[in-house]
Amino acid sequence: MYEQIIDFLSLSDPNVRTVVLGSILLTSSSAIIGAFTFLRKKALVGDAVAHSVLPGICLAFMIGGAKDPLILIPGAFLAGWLSMILIDKITLHSRIKEDTAIGMVLSVTFGLGILMLTFIQHSGNANQSGLDHFLFGKAAAMLGSDVIIFSAIALLMVLTVSFLFKEFALVCFDREYASSMGLPVKRLDFLMTSLTVLAVVIGIQAVGVVLMAAMLITPAAAARFWTDNLKLMIIMAAVIGAVSGFTGALVSYLYPSMPTGPWIVVVASVFAFISFFFAPKKGILQYMIKQRRIRLMINEENIIKAGYHIGEDRKDFTSSMTATDLIRRRPMPESKLKGHLAKLTRQGYFRKHSQGWELTNAGYKKGSRLVRIHRLWELYLTEYLNIASDHVHEDAETIEHFITPELEKQLEQTLNYPSEDPHQSKIPYE
């Protein structure tokens, strides 16, 4: 097993080279085209196209009598296009909604494909063996001559995308604007759709028709979580596609009886789910951590504010205060308060004494800023939003933590540096 892996990775066997190169090309070019399919929100249409390719392949085989890609590819391409048109026509000319139309075209065309496939298998044609590899993919079944054809198509697709990158991007992003710029939106649509069908057609060799949709969507969806830049997104999708394709080839080499499609899809999906949960900025976990950090920040700032309020009451901001004093101002369990205080002391907002804590100069400044924003915001709400003065406190409790220095300045200017809030408390300025 170990030796086999080494063998594979060394790429010394020309057959291995063919299969690896082929797989990587197929999956990465599908991923590139898929990025546009994803952005046009046509992921599920892609699924229907992939399924509908099967009867096209079978018909081409029945006519041509051989598994030659030069025969199968045109058949598959036509069938894929036809399914797109069918979905459009059904939704256009009847009350059937798009999701139902997709489901129908997907299942009926695939059913037709299965019927034809089993018909061919039972007819005893000797050439047919291996036709069912198109269901779940078999990277290892690629021949050198196949790879040349696939590479040519893949190259053509990638070149088209790089030449028309800006135009495609614009059409995906804002069709109406693109059309107002004088772009031939319809023709670009036609081209993008053709590329999607083509990507499906060549991708099924490695992935198979059943899971081909994943090759279009999953790498793009994963990449979307890392960047807002379309070029970068496409490059990332291509890399994820390539890594998945490589894994598929490896599995196909180690376990010749295994279908490769599911492995390729699982690898791409692992990237996707890692991205969904752990991507910086957009990941779900990151979002949760951020929410937690905000809550922590609010709690800490509230303790500083409580310290400031105590100072305000005593008219002495340097007096020391006990935990009980602070809890009376801002109720919370004592252990929690002490934890926060320890951190705030480390950060230099409080100083610890034998009798308790006292605000440092930094703590005083921070507390005064919070109270200032709080009172300014209360005033803003009563003056500009006509909200009764006994209702503005809760809102200000939140906003005080979030206002940026620029907004603070704007607030002060709008209100013209007032001296008192709606409850006649003094607004502290530095």
Binding site: D47, D99, G103, L112, H122, A220
Partner: protein, 302 residues
């Protein structure tokens, strides 16, 4: 006799799926049904490995769980991860289905399922897997009993929950304001779709489940404007599909499930063009007639 059992089994699958499918297509959730029918596969394989047999309550239960898990996962990625709906569906079910296929290959010795069976089932073998009592009485194919049971559950569900289901499907906002829980009925429906999927899965495979969930209801939707009639008509079309599909398969010596899906498509095509109320042909004729009338009226006023 075999033909009879196969058509009966096919019809049971057809009715069960069509009934639920009527709700799915009206809720614009056809693709969620598609996703569930794929995504239950790993649940089936795990239940298989765990119990070592096919038809057990464990399997139906595992299926319902996997189905609900799938919808929850799709919603999580969509809502918390802010990924668009179509991509959330696509990414989730392809992954689960891929895992299922890999498990089948890896545990090939322990699991009585293969790739072909997953895709287009083994309906041809249904008559041979009979339920024999200890006393030796032959109760007929086992699948009939399982599917019959599921069908009864579905019918009970639809008749008991008719009002809340109808209201949440037509106007969820209004339904909520009269005190109907939208998530409750949503997840109940999803669980039943999962159970149906699993019960039908090994018999007709994944494609036919989707075909029956979507196509007969869509056909019925073009033939009537009455929801109760839509339920009946789609069941009827389901039975027709199962019967004609079987004979088509026999004639071509091909997959029965594939042929049934094709027949479903043919019936839809007929309705699409020739439905008296919503068919393309009659709509065109009506339009033409209206236009002609308009011309005549226009002519007289001038």
């Amino acid at each position: 006799m075999n033909a009879f059992w196969i058509i009966t089994t096919g019809s049971l699958v057809a009715i069960t799926c069509s009934l639920l499918g009527c709700y799915l297509i009206l809720r614009k959730m056809a693709m969620i049904g598609d996703a569930i029918s794929h995504a239950v596969l790993p649940g089936i394989v795990i239940a298989f490995l765990y119990t070592g047999q096919r038809d057990s309550m464990v399997m139906l239960f595992a299926a319902a769980l996997t189905g609900v898990f799938t919808t929850l996962l799709i919603e999580l990625i969509h809502k918390k991860g802010k990924l668009q709906t179509d991509a959330s569906i696509g990414v989730t079910f392809t992954l689960l289905f891929a895992i299922g296929i890999i498990m089948i290959s890896v545990f090939a010795g322990q699991v009585d399922l293969d790739q072909d069976c997953v895709l287009y089932g083994e309906i041809a073998y249904v008559p041979f897997d009979v339920w024999l009592l200890d006393s030796g009485i032959n109760l007929g194919p086992r699948a009939i009993w399982v599917l019959g049971g599921v069908l009864l559950i579905i019918i009970a569900f639809i008749s008991l929950g008719y009002k809340p289901l109808y209201a949440t499907t037509f106007d969820p906002g209004f339904a909520f304001t009269i005190g109907i829980s939208i998530p409750l009925w949503h997840y109940l429906l999803m669980s039943l779709v999962s159970i149906t999927t699993v019960a039908s899965f090994e018999i007709v495979g994944a494609i036919l489940v989707i075909a029956f969930l979507v196509v007969p209801p869509a056909t019925a939707y073009l033939l009537t404007d009455d929801f109760k009639k839509m339920l009946m008509i789609s069941s009827g079309i389901g039975i027709l599909t199962a019967g004609s599909g079987y004979y088509l398969a026999v004639a071509l010596n091909g997959s029965i499930a594939g042929a049934m899906a094709v027949m479903a498509g043919i019936f839809f095509t007929l309705a699409f063009f020739f439905s008296p109320s919503h068919g393309l042909l009659f709509k065109k004729l009506r339009k033409k007639r209206a236009l002609l009338q308009g011309h005549e009226e226009g002519a007289t006023t001038i």
